[in-house]
């Protein structure tokens, strides 16, 4: 008799938990943002911080400061439209480059937003990150060496972490690593 009672109570409890979970999760997610998405490039997404670090040559905490400037870079048969941001480095977590990067230094972050081919402009990032606002970031970067120029780019546009409150939140919302703590690096 007692076993039956526990069994029934257990079922009620499980149903209630599932019920509350489904009712709350399904109403909390925002409806479609309705933003036209013209991104035609497929970029990497990473499932762990280890993976992100392994695929970066430079990992820093830094502050995007000042005015960004636009740049048109001539590639082989197309033009890349870039926005170049100044980043003041606060901490270096990983540096696999042969450059000395230290706290207090300024580096340039080159963010490619679109390409122009045969007079048409095609986005290569999601609409939400065509512009990056000033603030504190954890940045996973790679070094690009083109002829006489060397600069840093995000190792993928899908993992850009901006400090919001106490945590670094990814500007892209639906990947696996939505947020990270500095201590995890």
């Amino acid at each position: 008799m007692k076993t039956k009672k526990y069994f029934i109570n257990g079922i009620i409890l499980v149903l209630s938990i599932f019920g509350i979970y489904f009712a709350t999760t399904s109403t909390n997610i925002e409806k479609s943002e309705g933003v036209e998405n013209r991104n035609v490039a497929m970029s990497a997404t990473y499932g762990s911080i280890e993976e992100l670090k392994n695929n970066s040559q430079l990992v820093v905490k830094g502050k995007i400061i000042g005015e960004a400037r636009e740049n048109d870079r001539k590639l082989s048969d197309k033009t890349a439209k870039e926005i170049i941001y100044k980043v003041k480095v606060n901490k270096v977590f990983v540096n696999k480059t042969n450059k000395l990067i230290e706290k207090g230094m300024e580096i340039e972050l080159v963010h490619t937003t679109s390409i122009i081919l045969n007079g048409q402009e095609y986005d290569v990032v999601e609409p939400s990150i065509k512009e990056i606002s000033n603030g504190n970031y954890i940045l996973f970067l790679n070094e690009v060496n083109l002829e006489n120029e060397t600069f840093f780019v995000p190792n993928t546009p899908n993992h850009l972490y901006r400090l919001e409150g106490k945590k670094f939140q990814n500007l892209i919302k639906d990947v696996k690593l939505n947020e990270l703590n500095e201590e995890e690096l």
Partner: protein
């Protein structure tokens, strides 16, 4: 005893409300303008081929990826039916990107570029660029998945993001695609909307 019955009923009600909301959101999410790049092909068959820059390890994945879109749009359209050894329009060219360093550093696997009027016109040509330094390490199955995604762009499909990505599996979602071997029901719904009978 009565309160137990009542509690059970409330719990069952909450579960069913939750399920109903989830399924309504998923179904109601088809065919929004944000799922499309803006243009489309006006042909029933779009030929494709690759040039000599494309490594042989991509030849079979390319053929497999192209096949997965065949006959998917309202059965009438056969996209990318067969590899053609010559250039005809409508046509898609597959090439190894000429700017490997640049795109590899940025974590890009490939770019699917329909044209000439990208956002609002009728497509008559397209280009699929493979960033081989990024993609060479992928297994043949994952190469195929990546190329299915790029062919999706060439048909006029955009990335599936945010709310839609949470509720729908799609080859146009940069995360889902790695576990998929072909367009999902959601992708086909969108394709049918873009290419009605």
């Amino acid at each position: 005893m009565k309160s137990k019955v009542l509690l059970t009923l409330i719990a069952i009600m909450l579960v069913s409300v939750g399920f109903t909301q989830k399924s309504t959101q998923a179904v109601g999410n088809c065919c929004l303008s944000e799922f499309f790049l803006g243009g489309k092909w006006n042909y029933y068959a779009v030929y494709w081929n690759y040039d000599s820059t494309v490594p042989s390890s991509y030849h079979t994945p390319l053929k497999d990826a192209a096949k997965t879109w065949n006959g998917k749009a309202n059965k009438a359209y056969r996209f990318f039916p067969d590899w053609q050894g010559y250039t005809v329009k409508p046509h898609v060219w597959v090439i190894k990107t000429p700017d490997e360093n640049y795109w590899t550093s940025k974590g890009t696997y490939g770019i699917g570029i329909p044209g000439p009027d990208f956002t609002s016109g009728i497509y008559t040509e397209g280009r699929l660029e493979i960033v081989t330094n990024m993609s060479n390490g992928l297994t043949p199955a994952k190469k195929t998945s990546m190329l299915i995604h790029e062919f999706g762009h060439l048909l006029g499909l955009a990335h599936v993001k945010n709310y839609a990505a949470v509720y729908n599996e799609s080859v146009m979602d940069e995360i889902d695609v790695w576990d998929l071997s072909g367009p999902t029901t959601f992708d086909i719904q969108n394709l049918n909307y873009l290419y009605p009978n």
